[in-house]
């Protein structure tokens, strides 16, 4: 049973991390370790099906934010995820990083476009529907704060994150993947940038999730977002 007890930002974050630890006992954070090549291809196909929704939920947060400074930091996040290469950087957009990874597993541009034009899986449809709705209709501090669930995963255990990437690198090479760097570029980029992003999420929580009502909503959003795995 979640409460609306008003806590300091640090204590609230501590409580949220407790929910994460509990949930992860039964539903560990997923990645490609130990999967066969066929299973990885399946999961990549599933990821492309129905297109990418990063711009939708991140964009909703940007639109709803009423604090100029935070809004501009959110805009910077849109740039981080929408392609640093638009502004002379090296990192392409998230959908393009996804494509680069999929090419290494034999998916073609045509197949990816067909998948991205097609229907998502029913599970993905309902999770996305719920997620976009949350980001569109909740207070922007809840929407940004709830980013802690996925992005914060890398902060909780950075060593595990680095080791996992190392293990996947080895497994991909054994599968005969030619350009392992490209295959893992999405994961590698995220390992770094997500830590910055989750610090931003936590900053927003500490500064703006400061009423019993907002804290209640954040607890609920955090748990429901965790439940994206295991529902």
């Amino acid at each position: 049973m979640i409460t609306n007890e008003l806590k300091s930002g640090d204590r609230l974050i501590e409580e949220l991390e407790g929910y994460r630890r509990e949930h992860r006992k039964d539903f560990p954070f997923r990645n490609d370790i130990g999967k066969t090549k066929e299973k990885i291809i399946e999961s990549k196909q599933d990821k492309h099906a129905g297109g990418s929704d990063n711009h939708r939920f991140e964009g909703e947060r940007y639109l709803n934010c009423t604090d100029k400074s935070i809004r501009r930091q959110q805009l910077r996040k849109l740039v981080d995820e929408g392609g640093l290469d638009t502004f002379g950087g090296q990192v392409p957009s998230h959908p393009m990083l996804d494509r680069l990874g999929s090419y290494e597993f034999g998916l073609t541009d045509e197949e990816i476009t067909r998948l991205e034009k097609g229907d998502p899986s029913p599970e993905k449809l309902i999770v996305r529907g719920w997620w976009v709705h949350l980001n569109r209709t909740q207070h922007w501090s809840i929407a940004i704060g709830s980013g802690m669930v996925v992005e914060g995963e890398k902060k909780v255990n950075p060593e595990k994150e680095a080791n996992d990437i190392k293990t996947m690198r080895k497994e991909y090479a054994e599968m005969g993947v030619k350009n392992v760097d490209n295959a893992l570029r999405f994961a590698s980029e995220h390992a770094e940038v997500d830590v910055d992003h989750t610090e931003f999420n936590e900053k927003v929580i500490k500064q703006f999730v400061n009423t019993p009502e907002l804290q209640y909503e954040l607890r609920k959003a955090f748990i429901l977002r965790l439940q994206n795995q295991g529902f």
């Binding site: 129905g50 297109g51 034009k117 449809l125 309902i126 996305r128 719920w130 709705h133 529902f231």
Partner: protein, 259 residues
Amino acid sequence: MSELPYGPEDLKEPALSGDAFIRFLHDEKAKKYPDPPPLVQSIHDGECSKEHLKLWVKDMYLYWDHAMVYSTGAIFVKTNDEEVRTQILRKLVDIEGKEVVNDLTGWTTPAYEELWLRFGEGLGITRNEIQSWKSFTRTHYAITALCMLSRWWEWTWLDGIASLYAGDLHGRDTLGGVGEAMKMHYDVPDKSLEFFRVYQEDVASHIPWEEKALAHWCCTRERQLTAARALRKRLDIENQLLVAPHRAATSERLPLQVP
């Protein structure tokens, strides 16, 4: 909702005729869900335990009490064609209870949610148990997705009609024999089964105008493609609503619930 847009290649074919489009929608439904949902099949066969039946009844209350009302009302708001909008208004009265227009018609049928509560009571569940149930998370996601697509810009009004049509076809097919199964396998008294009679009668009165509207207004290739997509999504959502109660019946642990 995040699919790449249809391009010139997708849109170069002419639109199907109205009748052919309706047949196409039926083909899409048959292709996507050729068999009844496992939970429904087990109810029809009398193999679902009463305990799990009760879980299903509790878990579906939010659908009849909120999702149907909100998602249908949201499409009503978007519909500028008066003939179609009037039919949606009639549908809203069915959902909210025909007794709303008692002064005009003398009708006394209550809302679907009330009929659903009475059905639950027939199974031995109290109103409080049903109304205080914390939805399975999957159900919560599905209901939120339906309300979001219906309310916001993801679906046009015509996509919304396709959604209503899908919901009615699905409801007709899945709930069709449930009332009978309740009598035959679960000893639910006839007076508690009014929901099924009312619902089937209502759905039968809505399917014809939904078909007519879709056949008429989906007159371009793009409208047909997006309406078909909305129909498939509504079918996905409806089927997802039946997954968690089935998992509860077939797994060792109860599926996750909203906090």
